[in-house]
């Protein structure tokens, strides 16, 4: 597989959230504003990139039978580093993402990529894989949070949208809104795929 393909598959064909249905918890919880979505996506990408690099470099040293605990330690370390850096330099974002920063540890995508890709591939493909998956997940989070922020708060990245700001549909930024937004986006994607399949 060439590098460009390794990179781009994470964005569309194997998008972690929309296609593989992984990492749902943060996608529902923190997508109340586009800013949160971008912040979470960046934190996630940083952890995924770092863990893919380390796992790929150590893939010949780590004994087969204890690889999962080793991966978990590596991922948890990078999550903790990300958490500390965010706490120090982006405290507002740290507050609003809250518990979901440490919970990146149990985001199945990262362990999944370490196990399925980085432990079997060299450094460069692993980096491309992490960047592609990270970007794909970030785009997915931004999509969900854009729908929720625009409809629920009448703003986009905090900028008021004329006509929507006066009477926003509050429910979209409350917990049910997360389920509604993601459900409708997935349904829309299904519809598009069916159309494509029919026309072929």
């Amino acid at each position: 597989m060439n590098l460009a393909k390794t990179f781009s598959k994470g964005i569309i064909n194997e998008n972690p959230l929309f296609r593989l249905m992984l990492g749902m918890c943060p996608a529902l919880a923190i997508t109340t504003s586009v800013e949160n979505g971008i912040g979470m996506g960046m934190a996630f990408t940083a952890v995924l990139l770092a863990s893919n690099v380390v796992v790929s470099l150590l893939r010949r040293i780590i004994p087969e039978s204890i690889r999962i605990p080793c991966f978990i330690v590596v991922i948890a370390s990078f999550v903790t580093i990300t958490e500390m850096v965010m706490h120090a330099y982006a405290p507002a974002l740290f507050e609003s993402l809250g518990i979901f920063i440490p919970l990146i540890v149990v985001n199945c995508i990262i362990l999944g990529r370490a196990e399925a890709f980085a432990s079997k591939n060299g450094l460069v493909p692993s980096v491309m894989d992490a960047l592609g998956m990270g970007l794909g997940y970030t785009l997915a989070l931004v999509t969900v949070s854009a729908v929720r922020e625009v409809l629920g708060a009448g703003t986009f990245l905090g900028i008021p949208i004329i006509g929507l700001i006066d009477n926003p549909a509050l429910v979209m930024i409350l917990p049910p809104g997360g389920f509604i937004a993601l459900g409708c986006i997935l349904a829309l994607l299904n519809k598009m795929q069916q159309k494509k399949a029919q026309s072929n």
Partner: protein
Amino acid sequence: MRDISIIVISAVLINNIVLSQFLGICPFLGVSKKVSSAVGMGLAVTFVLTFAGMITWFVQQFVLIPLEIEYLQTIAFILVIASLVQFVEMVVKKTSPDLYKALGVYLPLITTNCAVLGVSILNIQKTYGFLDSVVNSFANAIGFTLALVLMAGIRERLEDADIPASLKGLPISLITAALMSIAFMGFTGLI
């Protein structure tokens, strides 16, 4: 006593772990096709979450805080939970084959259930004492089981419904969850 009842009501109904805090969404959507498997998963989570709440509390109070390494919390907790799941699996397998038959397939899935790690960290963040932590963990697990079983009940019925093709599968489950979440919002203000 009043505090404990508030913790329980808040964890089970008001801030339901799945429907309002969004922890444990993966098993909530993945293992809710049948009521029987939902009950199994719920029991397994209840078991592990309660023990995890206990052990992580001890780890925090008697290891991390005295050594001043609270920043290793995430790493320590995830390792504790992973070992706990393994241990529970071994013990259940040896002592009660029947229980193992019922819970066995769900146990390995729990390590990556963010509800377990999430509640353990929240217990510490809310500065709960030991009893409060255990009660909160148990109550959250009950909340998880409740949401899971309700969801499974609805999905069993959905099987027979005529759903538009593009909504089949996950989208309709998410929208069902949204309606349940709205219903649970009605509990806010109960305490």
